[in-house]
């Protein structure tokens, strides 16, 4: 029968005899665990940030862009030709079952004036559906309605950056701003959205009814023309289905024959973002495994010290065997020693890792998230390292010949 409490006591005493050596051995594990925790925290933080950006863009989003035009044999880029219309947008909403909201967009950059302030910003003509497609809330006032779109009223919603630049501390609701010299009434202010995934300030914008944009601000080559159509699918699973349905519908509407190229493209923004989330995940995994290597090196340190310890204590092992220690008594004693080293190292490493990630996010401004699972992972991994690298020395100790061991000087 193996007496665990006394074996534990024996192991603890042996470690305390060589305090400095035990501490240095633990250092390897401490660094390893702290590195694993910190790296995973950085990785998780990065992923979370990307996830937030996806959410800020609006989920399950598709964009229908007009196609390329050809002039004199030179093909212009995508979107160089205006081929989409209000009719296309309405048809998508009506005829594609996988689509829940549609927002046609006609916009551009325009100078906006309020009192003696002026500001150049992107002016987006759209429909109320836009706010749903982009998961965007109104923070003050109200949104414009379908009636505003139908009647081409001169009302606008301002982004936070525009409010700050034009109004400062004045309440903008009900004020008149002039966009390209056309007076608009501010009826609402958009919530703060922050940066887009590619670094643009999403709050530097003004929303107006799409019809007003067509008739009063930008003008169109044909009535009802829009630049792009934003689409929200019913769910993440319906995204590719929606993409297919829209493509078929618009090909039909634009009378594009079997062998002709599309004069539009349907782009899946969410998929692109998911790809970048995927790469962040790979990055986190990579960082984590590099840190894991240092944990492994720490484990080799434990093995090294345990082997030295077994050799040094050969006679002690011999005495224990002579008075009746069985194979597993000896084996367990050394295994527990290795385990204590690695678990204490793991515990201290967790503390350092957690506070290290805190310091990192405070000093470098990186978002770091220490998850319970990464703590658990690092701790159990250090335990496994202890057992794995402690086993060979323990094995060696337990298989010594008692006579030889007793004679060892």
């Amino acid at each position: 029968m193996i007496n665990i409490p006394s074996t534990l006591k024996i192991s603890v005493r042996a470690l305390r005899v060589n305090k400095m050596r035990s501490a240095l051995t633990m250092l390897g594990i401490i660094i390893g665990v702290a590195a694993v925790i910190t790296m995973l925290a950085v990785g998780t933080g990065a992923r979370q940030k990307i996830g937030e950006q996806i959410a800020s863009m609006g989920s399950n989003q598709l964009i229908v862009l007009p196609g390329a035009s050809t002039s004199g044999g030179a093909r212009m880029g995508a979107g160089s030709q205006m081929t989409l219309s209000m009719g296309d947008a309405e048809a998508i909403l009506k005829e594609c079952p996988a689509v829940s909201y549609v927002a046609p967009v006609l916009g551009g950059v325009a100078q906006v004036i309020y009192g003696n302030q002026n500001w150049s910003t992107s002016v987006t003509g759209t429909t109320p559906g836009m706010l749903v497609v982009r998961d965007w809330q109104i923070s003050e006032g109200r949104s414009f309605t379908d009636d505003d779109v139908r009647g081409a009223t001169k009302v606008c919603l301002l982004g936070q950056t525009v409010v700050e630049n034009l109004f400062g501390s004045i309440d903008p609701i009900g004020q008149i701003v002039r966009i390209k010299k056309v007076p608009f009434t501010v009826i609402g202010v958009l919530d703060r959205k922050g940066q887009s995934p590619n670094g643009q300030d999403q709050d530097d914008t003004i929303y107006i009814p799409v019809t007003t944009a067509q008739k009063k601000i930008f003008g169109t080559t044909f009535p009802g023309m829009v630049r792009i159509i934003m689409v929200k699918a019913k769910g993440a699973e319906e995204l590719s289905q929606a993409q297919k349905q829209i493509t078929e519908l618009i090909r039909q509407r634009h009378r594009i024959g079997q062998k002709q190229d599309d004069d539009f493209t349907v782009r899946n923004l969410t998929q692109m973002m998911q790809a970048s989330e995927q790469s962040a995940r790979v990055m986190a995994l990579l960082l984590g495994s590099i840190a894991g290597v240092s944990l492994l090196v720490g484990g080799i340190g434990i093995m090294n010290i345990m082997l030295v310890s077994v050799t040094e204590r050969t006679r002690e092992i011999g005495i224990r065997m002579a008075v009746g220690a069985k194979t597993w008594d000896i084996r367990l004693q050394f295994l527990i020693e290795a385990l204590i080293l690695s678990l204490i190292g793991g515990g201290v490493g967790i503390l350092i890792g957690v506070s290290g990630s805190q310091v990192l996010s405070n000093l470098a401004g990186w978002p770091t998230i220490v998850s319970m699972s990464s703590i658990f992972l690092a701790f159990s991994f250090s335990g496994v390292v202890g057992i794995f690298f402690g086993f060979y020395p323990a094995m060696k100790a337990s298989l010594l010949d008692p006579i030889e061991a007793l004679r060892y000087e």
Partner: protein, 230 residues
């Protein structure tokens, strides 16, 4: 029934092509309560014999039974149990754990037979009292004299109430006066507690304390009989 019965045991070592027999067909028996001195020059096979008696080594051939149990075929761990319960060792180099108190040194054999901590301490204190070391239980080996260290070792050998104590030159590192004291202790244990004591020695002065003397030469027993008292 005799406590120890060995029949024709041999121990051979292979040194390259040559086979050396350290022990060549030894047969003898010892009864409970015997006090035996094993004598012989170095290389005579007495140490090999003692290692086999102490279940630290197995004979190449022959049978050895201890208290009627044939131990020559037992496994490593089964031998460890036998050593724990039936045999107490005393070595000439004391072989105590350094940096460990006398009490804990004496408790050591009981760590391996699952006694609760309270009983361990009680029995260890009693064993220390038997060897006359009451009050020294918290001293570490380096705070004790050679004689005291050997007493701790004897207490450790006694503590599991083993019927057999094997002492390998127990006075080898001690002066004459202390040697006498240690031998007196063995005699007392033998007489009062009926413990069988076997000591290996090459000093005739030490051997006289025993009741029976066995001499080894070149792996064989050359004489076996009552110790000649001066």
């Amino acid at each position: 029934m005799s406590l120890i019965k060995v029949q024709d045991i041999s121990k051979n070592y292979n040194l390259g092509d040559v086979q050396v027999c350290a022990l060549c067909g030894v047969s003898l028996s010892m009864d409970k309560g015997d006090f035996v001195a094993v004598m012989g020059q170095s290389g005579s096979g007495k140490s090999t014999f003692m290692n086999i008696l102490g279940c630290l080594d197995k004979p190449t051939s022959g049978r050895y039974s201890l208290e009627g149990v044939d131990v020559s075929e037992l496994s490593r761990d089964e031998l460890a149990v036998i050593r724990n319960k039936k045999i107490g060792f005393v070595f000439h180099g004391f072989n105590l754990l350094s940096r460990t108190s006398a009490l804990e040194n004496v408790e050591l054999p009981m760590l391996y037979n699952g006694l609760p901590a309270k009983d361990r301490k009680e029995l260890a204190m009693a064993a220390l009292k038997t060897v006359g070391l009451s009050g020294r239980e918290n001293h570490h080996p380096n705070q004790l004299s050679g004689g005291q260290q050997q007493r701790v070792a004897i207490a450790r050998a006694l503590v599991n109430q083993a019927p057999l104590i094997l002492a390998d030159e127990p006075t080898g590192n001690l002066d004459t006066k202390t040697s006498r004291e240690i031998m007196d202790l063995f005699v007392k244990l033998n007489e009062e507690s009926d413990i069988t004591v076997i000591i290996v020695t090459h000093e005739p002065d030490i051997a006289v304390f025993s009741k029976r003397t066995i001499r080894f030469l070149d792996g064989r027993v050359v004489s076996d009989g009552h110790t000649v008292k001066p």
